[in-house]
């Protein structure tokens, strides 16, 4: 079979919504693009534990503490599902960690912003998880089987995350003056970074086309961003709060919300490592990994000892 021929067949399979499975023949570029996308998604879940983990010990009630703890733990689970999916493509989790720790692989930039108040837990759930869900739901139908299955599981679990976030803000919005101010402040700080989560505008993302053809990505950055803004611009009214964008208004002609200019300079800078918490986040991950080395080694040594013992 010449290579032109099988690559056409491969594309045909994808066009017909037939899933690609781990041992199937696939173009090397498809495999590499997937490894990068899935592993960076996994890294985002793991690094994403840190900003929220920051408030677990300070949560204002026992109920909120338990919810937040369960939520951050879910993120660990999601990272694990995604690492598992990437491992089916022939890369080990340790190798992926190594890429994260050395800066070769990135994670979602949103997690380089600090969580300053309790209201940030609400804003992250509502805005950040909301934006993530927008990205993730279409991925449940992505062309690579293990990735799609991991995403189905993740989306199912994520649905509580956004709701708990909104509920935190709703409670604050009905609370004391200090709570209302805290709520508005968190929305003000998280709004722009969360709409940046969809990535650069379509004309600045030239590889989108190939990914769309492979159905690794199913909607463009701008499409998803617009959908998200339309949704949030309505929901914020229920909170009685505002979004920090004077240009945000309904455009009757487009049947969409118009919005102001995104500060792409900030975006590129956070991406390049100059965000408020880039160093802190990476340091925390590296420290956990290095501090855990003796634990992992000991567990392995013990099990090997037991196996030799059994064999003898």
């Amino acid at each position: 079979m010449n290579s032109m021929f099988w690559e056409e067949l491969f594309q045909q399979k994808i066009d017909n919504e037939i899933k690609i499975e781990p041992k199937d023949r696939m173009p090397e570029k498809y495999r590499q693009t997937l490894i990068r996308q899935i592993s960076q998604h996994a890294h985002s879940e793991i690094v994403g534990m840190l900003p929220e983990g920051n408030w677990i010990t300070r949560a204002p009630s026992l109920k909120r503490k338990a919810i937040l703890l369960a939520k951050v733990q879910d993120e660990a689970g999601h990272g694990l599902y995604l690492y598992s999916a990437a491992e089916t493509l022939g890369i080990s989790r340790d190798e992926m960690y190594n890429q994260l720790h050395t800066g070769k692989a990135k994670y979602s930039s949103i997690f380089n912003y600090p969580t300053l108040t309790w209201a940030d837990m609400g804003a992250i759930g509502w805005l950040v998880d909301g934006a993530a869900i927008m990205n993730q739901v279409p991925l449940c139908r992505t062309s690579y089987g293990p990735y799609a299955r991991a995403m189905v599981r993740i989306c199912k679990e994520e649905s509580f995350h956004q709701r708990q976030g909104f509920e935190i803000l709703l409670t604050l919005s009905k609370g004391t003056e200090a709570q209302k101010a805290m709520c508005q402040d968190a929305i003000d700080r998280w709004w722009w970074p969360s709409i940046m989560m969809f990535g650069p505008t379509d004309d600045a993302s030239p590889n989108t086309e190939q990914s769309m053809r492979w159905k690794i990505k199913r909607f463009s950055n701008d499409e998803l961003r617009q959908k998200f803004i339309n949704m949030i611009a309505e929901q914020v009214k229920i909170l009685g709060m505002t979004l920090p964008d004077p240009d945000l208004k309904w455009n009757e002609e487009r049947k969409q919300y118009d919005f102001g200019k995104i500060n792409w300079e900030e975006f590129w800078n956070v991406l390049a490592g100059n965000g408020p918490c880039n160093k802190q986040r990476l340091h925390a991950r590296i420290k956990a990994w290095e501090d855990g080395a003796w634990v992992r080694d000991a567990a392995l040594a013990y099990s090997e000892k037991k196996q030799t013992h059994k064999a003898a």
């Binding site: 677990i56 949560a59 703890l69 951050v72 309790w118």
Partner: protein
């Protein structure tokens, strides 16, 4: 009634402080699977503390709630054992602390199955299932680390050295434990046999003639508790009378 309330608060404080300490690990564990495992234990413990505080709040009256009991009492009012408030240290120290504490909870909750107070009995019955798993999980880790590498063994010896002096207090009856006739001597014997068996399998020696610290049950704590409460209670103290 005061004795029962005090005793339930003591059990609740134990569970909460252990849960709070374990929660500090969330996102920082040595491997993803175990990060998730320890968080599950933390969630179980916080859950236990909530059932206990809710019961204590009903007994205490005065509009007490689970949150007012957890967030608005001071370090001299907390009745948890000193063991629970000790720092996490490395993974080995956290594991050992969990094992020593869970084993105590296991035999205590087993005994509470025949206790006359129905509500407490029910809480203990639910918790017992969780605690049985905590003992299994933590004892396996104690064995693995004790009998793993030279480094892990040394770290476990350090952990024993740091924690053993806080184990005695669990079995010294407080006023309320005496009044309620909690058979701590019997629970101690079971605890002692289990810890000896596990540490023995882990090739770790149990120290002898350790001078035991005490005071937690009557609110005389180590310095660590103040910081735990400062952090945990910060929101409730800063924004009193608010809904969250």
């Amino acid at each position: 009634m005061k004795h029962l309330t005090d005793y339930i608060l003591h059990l609740a404080d134990n569970a909460l402080i252990m849960g709070q300490r374990n929660a500090e690990w969330c996102g920082h564990g040595p491997i993803l699977e175990q990060d998730i495992a320890l968080t599950n234990i933390s969630l179980d413990l916080i859950g236990q503390s909530r059932y206990l505080y809710q019961y204590a709040a009903e007994l205490a009256g005065n509009n007490a709630t689970e949150d007012s009991l957890a967030y608005l009492r001071t370090e001299r009012e907390f009745k948890n054992c000193l063991l629970t408030e000790q720092p996490n240290g490395d993974w080995g120290q956290t594991i050992l602390k969990q094992f020593l504490f869970s084993t105590y909870q296991l035999y205590l909750f087993e005994w509470l199955q025949q206790y006359q107070d129905e509500r407490l009995k029910a809480i203990a019955a639910k918790a017992l299932k969780e605690v049985t798993y905590h003992v299994r999980w933590s004892s396996e880790w104690v064995i693995r680390l004790g009998d793993g590498t030279e480094e892990s063994k040394q770290r476990m010896l350090n952990a024993i050295d740091a924690l053993w002096m806080y184990t005695g207090e669990m079995f010294i009856p407080s006023e309320s434990e005496m009044a309620l006739q909690i058979p701590l001597d019997r629970i101690y014997k079971q605890w002692d046999a289990k810890t000896k068996a596990v540490l023995n399998e882990a090739t770790l020696l149990i120290p002898e003639k350790v001078f035991m610290q005490k005071g937690g049950k009557s609110g005389v704590h180590t310095e660590y508790l103040g910081y735990i409460l400062t952090e945990m209670q910060y929101m409730q103290r800063t924004y009193p009378d608010s809904e969250w």
